[in-house]
């Protein structure tokens, strides 16, 4: 062995000085990453800095922080807001294209009144005064009859911060409908009674293992921008493993370590079988279960016994070995998390599926841990005072008695209930909605009912675009797109709560107005002298004044400047700064802002406990309200449920004859599928949302057609179908003719069609009626001459029948059984035909699964002791968005 060098600082200094040239000549492979901070933009010609106005994006519903750059009063660029802790300066393709809503040459800029037959497309321009006077007269007529519930308002996307609800409460109507049952309502209802909130926040960035059931979060699911950033971090920086169960090889499945194709609607069975393995092999977190849930490990072990991997394998097609392996990997890897979206939830028993999935992080104690399955973090804001009282009478349409647990409504069944005379509608308002396109049955159902002047005598649409539904209206009140309006905003789209605003980046175009101004002026017309007591709730100068009342008294924000702070920054609080080197939000010391975990373990303060009573089971009650739970000698806030625990057993479900414990119900008509039958599913692409993006130029150019995905084995069986061949897809409710896309990336028993295509309204670009003259105050558009594609796609919703989850009320989008054949000689590309009678039959059949229906008991033999629907007092559902 050589002698060790005995060096002192002095000799090091000498060596360093002597070898300085060598040090300088050493190769350097470590380089600073280049990343612009964002937040500034310049005119490329004169380098003048553009005006930057922070907003919240609203092309879809993720609510990314954004900045609009304005030059000469025109939005020239949109990009992410670097001060926003959730989205950290990034916007997706949709967000980057948002200005094309504002500048769409086919946008509606003036109030319009129908002059031909409904849907004929004949309009005349009227003044705001004429429009509001006519609508107000219809409202007064209904109010004077004492039947306010005959005034109905249905929204598709409501980010008004409470204005629409205020409007309906002012009128005294409870007939408020939303879109959630065609969205993710059974996911929400699967979660809410269990742990409180209706969504989870998986800590992807810090996890080591992700189970993804049926979510394409890198493209489309809720919070795809902020969550896909964290998924990428987890995958690249933390080497997490991600396993995706999906019928289709989505881009998220492709990004995953494993894509496991699963038969539609059977995710819940797979999740239960994983739970079985975890409990059988004693891999559960017993301490968490015993401390924080309302069941014991012993009960769970007993309950999960029948759900074996072999049982789930037969149902789902997922090999039992795979279920065993993934279950063990998930249970033995810490931290681990789980995410779901439409895959499990959009089925007849979607709520059960969701519940079965969320049990996995609960069983393994991965709840509210770093890298685990966390509660959402959101912020609220106060409403301007005074507030109108709630409506006095319940509405059948918004709180249908057959669906008492569907806390987010069952709006997709509304046309059938109207047709059945369950509730009269005299004035129908719609806001940012388009069920004639987006709902099951589409024009065959919603189109038929909205066209019928006997069923809907007066129809008012508040819309910026001539969508399929708006085209059937009697009066159109031109709403403005999101870049021209004020709105409060908050979304639990990361582990850091925030408040934000949308603010106008330029004045309204034409005579369009923002919704809260339209509604204020309408109420002032209905109650001009205030004698009806309505005007007092709409006493504000302008929309900015309304925003001040939301934001100027929020503790913390108030001190920071209230609305003025939000106008400047777009978001509050500002947690730190975006580090240009890493793209992460960091604190003053340069470290990434850390999230807070273990919210349920947060201890109540002495002030909270003053006057509180600790009950026998540990529940802490104050003024008749549960405020926390004592666990291990500590007074914790617990989970936001009535008993402050995670309710693995949901007793409320049992009241209505549903299984209160995690379970799975196979879709009966899937069990009896014939060899030549397939399941039709739908999905979204990353550049489109439900219906409102087909007219956005940049996005339409990227994706404009939607062939049906089909496995090569399936294509072979059908006589050798090749990509591009025409196929006819026939469901119980109708048929369509489209092109095939043959790919290994789909389950052989499934065909899948992306939505957002095949519009018959929504302007010249969406419909490819390029040579038509502009209408409704629109303008010529030279860009239309540059449209190089001639395929607008085919819309599948006309042939998808309604299915309603008897618990969560959700539409079973992925339950449709179809037959696919090669197109016949008389079939043309784009043929679509749905039949009202067939859809009506499907509606009647789905009612049979409701707790009041004759199939309910048959589907729940384990609930034999339930005393039947007569034993429960009907309870109004509702709420939610």
């Amino acid at each position: 062995m050589l002698d060790k060098l005995k060096m002192t600082r002095r000799t090091f200094v000498k060596v360093s000085a002597g070898t300085a040239a060598a040090a300088a000549a050493a190769p350097r492979l470590l380089q600073a990453m280049e990343q612009e901070l964002g937040g500034k933009d310049f005119n490329p010609v004169d380098l003048a800095e553009r005006k930057a106005i922070p907003i919240n994006c609203h092309v879809c519903n993720i609510q990314d922080g954004a900045i609009a750059y304005v030059e000469n009063g025109r939005v020239v660029k949109l990009e992410g807001n670097p001060e926003h802790v959730s989205t950290r300066g990034r916007l997706c393709a949709k967000g980057n294209s948002g200005m094309w809503y504002s500048y769409d040459p086919d946008r509606i800029l003036y109030p319009l009144k129908r002059v031909g037959a409904r849907g004929e497309g004949k309009w005349k321009r009227i003044t705001w005064d004429e429009a509001l006077t006519e609508v107000a007269a219809k409202i007064r007529e209904v109010l004077d009859r004492g039947e306010p519930n005959e005034i109905c308002l249905k929204w598709g996307r409501n980010r008004t911060g409470g204005t629409l609800q205020r409007f309906m409460a002012t009128l005294g109507s409870a007939t408020v409908l939303n879109h959630t049952s065609v969205c993710e309502s059974s996911k929400k209802v699967g979660m809410e009674p269990t742990w409180g909130p209706d969504i989870e926040t998986p800590d992807f960035a810090n996890t080591k293992y992700v189970l993804n059931f049926g979510s394409n979060v890198l493209e489309a699911a809720y919070f795809h921008n902020p969550l896909s950033q964290r998924i990428t971090e987890g995958r690249v920086d933390n080497q997490m493993k991600i396993v995706t169960f999906d019928v289709r090889l989505s881009n998220t499945a492709g990004f995953s370590d494993e894509w496991i194709p699963v038969f539609p609607g059977t995710d819940g069975a797979v999740a239960l079988a994983m739970g079985h393995v975890i409990l059988r092999d004693d891999l559960q977190d017993s301490d968490f279960i015993e401390t924080w849930t309302n069941v014991t490990v012993k009960e769970l072990k007993e309950h999960y016994k029948p759900f074996t991997p072999e049982w789930a394998s037969k149902i789902s097609g997922v090999p039992a070995q795979t279920i065993e392996r993934i279950a063990r990997e998930f249970a033995l890897t810490k931290p681990a998390t789980l995410f779901t979206y439409r895959g499990p939830a959009k089925h007849l028993y979607g709520s059960y599926n969701e519940k079965a999935c969320m049990m996995l992080p609960i069983l393994t104690g991965n709840v509210e841990t770093r890298g685990g399955y966390c509660l959402p973090r959101g912020m609220g804001w106060p409403q301007p005072m005074p507030e109108p009282p709630k409506a006095k009478k319940p509405s059948y349409l918004s709180t249908p008695p057959d669906y008492p647990l569907a806390s987010h409504k069952v709006s997709h069944l509304v046309p059938f209930w109207i047709a059945d005379g369950k509730q009269k509608v005299s004035v129908y308002f719609t806001y940012q909605d388009n069920p004639v396109y987006t709902n099951p049955g589409a024009r065959a159902v919603w189109g038929k009912v909205l066209k019928d002047e006997k069923l809907i005598p007066f129809f008012v649409s508040m819309s910026s675009h001539m969508g399929e539904e708006t085209a059937l209206a009697d009066i159109i009140l031109p709403d403005c797109p999101y870049l021209e309006r004020w709105e409060p905003e908050s979304m639990p789209n990361s582990l850091w709560p925030w408040l934000g605003i949308r603010q106008p980046v330029h004045p309204y175009l034409g005579e369009s107005r923002e919704n809260r101004i339209i509604l204020r002026d309408l109420i002032h017309k209905v109650d001009p002298d205030g004698k009806r007591g309505m005007k007092q709730y709409w006493d504000f100068k302008d929309a900015e004044d309304y925003m001040k009342r939301h934001f100027d008294n929020i503790p913390g924000l108030k001190e920071a400047g209230g609305l003025e702070f939000l106008k400047k920054h777009g978001v509050w609080p500002i947690y730190g700064t975006l580090d240009p080197k890493t793209g992460k939000i960091v604190d003053k010391t340069g470290r990434e802002i850390k999230a807070e975990y273990g919210l349920h373990k947060k201890e109540l303060s002495e002030a909270d406990m003053a006057g509180a009573v600790v009950e026998k089971d540990g529940l802490i009650v104050k003024n008749g309200k549960a405020i926390g739970i004592r666990r291990n000698g500590k007074n914790c806030v617990g989970f936001p449920t009535k008993n402050r625990l995670i309710n693995v057993r949901v007793d409320e479900w049992a009241e209505y004859g549903f299984n209160p414990m995690p379970t799975f119900k196979r879709i009966p008509w899937h069990e009896t599928m014939k060899e030549d039958e397939l399941v039709l599913t739908t999905f979204k692409l990353n550049v489109h949302k439900q219906s409102r993006t087909a007219a956005v130029k940049w996005l339409a150019e990227i994706a404009h057609s939607n062939p049906v995905w089909m496995n090569p084995r399936t294509a072979q069986k059908l006589g050798g179908i090749k990509t591009g061949d025409l196929v006819r897809i026939e469901s119980r409710a109708g048929y369509l003719v489209t092109k095939a896309y043959v790919t290994e990336g789909i389950h052989p028993k499934v065909v899948a069609i992306p939505t957002s295509f095949g519009h018959w309204e929504y302007g010249r670009l969406a419909t490819l009626r390029l040579k038509e003259k502009p209408a409704y105050g629109g303008t010529e558009d030279p860009d239309l001459k540059n449209v190089w594609w001639d395929d607008k796609g085919v819309h599948p919703n006309d042939i998808i029948p309604v299915v309603a989850d008897p618990i969560g009320g959700s539409q079973g989008w992925m339950d449709t059984v179809v037959k696919v054949t090669k197109a016949g000689p008389n079939d043309k590309y784009g043929d679509v035909q749905g039949y009202w009678e067939k859809h009506y039959e499907a509606y009647k059949e789905t009612l049979r699964y409701a707790y009041t229906g004759d199939l309910h008991r048959k589907m729940h033999p384990e609930m034999a002791s339930w005393a039947g629907p007569e034993s429960v007092k009907p309870k109004a559902s509702g709420g939610g968005h």
């Binding site: 062995m1 050589l2 002698d3 060790k4 060098l5 005995k6 060096m7 002192t8 600082r9 000799t11 090091f12 200094v13 000498k14 060596v15 360093s16 000085a17 002597g18 070898t19 300085a20 040239a21 060598a22 040090a23 300088a24 000549a25 050493a26 190769p27 350097r28 492979l29 470590l30 380089q31 600073a32 990453m33 990343q35 920086d237 933390n238 080497q239 496991i260 194709p261 038969f263 394998s313 037969k314 789902s316 097609g317 997922v318 090999p319 070995q321 795979t322 392996r325 063990r328 990997e329 580090d579 240009p580 080197k581 890493t582 010391t589 340069g590 990434e592 084995r713 389950h747 052989p748």
Partner: protein, 259 residues
């Protein structure tokens, strides 16, 4: 027991006191060039320019005074042929099969691209650095890259101090300590001893001595307690890799023949 060496669980040892109190600025002015020099030695085959810079009379005198004793194979060989010889020696020692790659993952786990690789990559990313290709691909946890990273951190520390940002300077110092504790400190000393034993050419033998001495000096200066886990092993046993996936597992029960 492996090759006469007992692997022991790392135990925290008290840090030896520094021989002399460091200057107020932490000796950044001399430490940064030393990191750069040693990074240059071990990062890739030395270029003629680099060798010429090491062989200047000033450099050789300073190195000799420090106790480095190069042989004639380094001192007397013409530069172009020296570069060729050292390229062959570099390959034999550090790049070809049978050698001892100066890569943290290999030294600590017996495999390339294991946990240390991901950890240092994350550390680089958090500090805003990325590793680019040199003459050849280089792993992120290669010795030369890790030393260069510390040099970069110390540069930032110096810049912060020059700007009067003492808090910022301390933050970068903490990053250096963290990196030494989690990475360099765990393997460099033992590895340097192995190179001293294995090198045929005096250039690498002596530079490895310098590396060992410098590493010990840094650990003392930074007041760290970090155990050498490399131990200069010639053969590093491969760490256990759990392969849960069964390649014979059927893909999907819906596919015929997979049940």
């Amino acid at each position: 027991m492996l090759h006469g060496l007992e692997i022991v669980e790392p135990r925290a040892q008290p840090a030896p006191p520094p021989e002399e109190e460091p200057e107020a600025d932490g000796g950044l002015d001399y430490r940064i060039p030393l990191y750069r020099l040693l990074s240059g030695v071990f990062l890739e085959e030395p270029s003629v320019d680099f060798l010429a810079a090491v062989r200047t009379p000033e450099a050789l005198a300073a190195l000799a005074e420090a106790g480095l004793a190069f042989d004639g194979d380094f001192l007397a060989a013409p530069l172009p042929s020296l570069a060729d010889v050292l390229a062959a020696e570099f390959t034999a020692l550090f790049a070809a099969s049978g050698g001892f790659p100066p890569v943290e993952s290999v030294r600590l786990t017996g495999r390339y691209q294991q946990q240390p690789y991901f950890d240092v990559r994350q550390a680089y990313r958090q500090a805003g650095f990325t590793v680019t290709r040199g003459r050849f691909h280089v792993f992120e946890d290669q010795l030369g890259v890790e030393l260069a990273f510390v040099a970069e951190l110390l540069e930032r520390c110096a810049a912060a101090r020059a700007a009067g940002d003492e808090a910022g300077a301390r933050r970068w110092e903490r990053e250096v300590k963290r990196f030494w504790t989690l990475h360099l400190g765990r393997w460099v000393r033992g590895y340097a001893r192995l190179v001293q034993r294995a090198a045929e050419h005096s250039f690498y033998r002596e530079m490895a001595r310098l590396l060992e001495a410098f590493a010990e000096q840094e650990i003392a200066l930074l007041r760290l307690r970090v155990e050498d886990q490399d131990l200069g092993r010639e053969v590093v046993p491969k760490s256990e890799v759990q392969v849960a996936f069964n390649p014979d597992e059927p893909v999907c029960n819906a596919c015929p023949g997979s049940r």
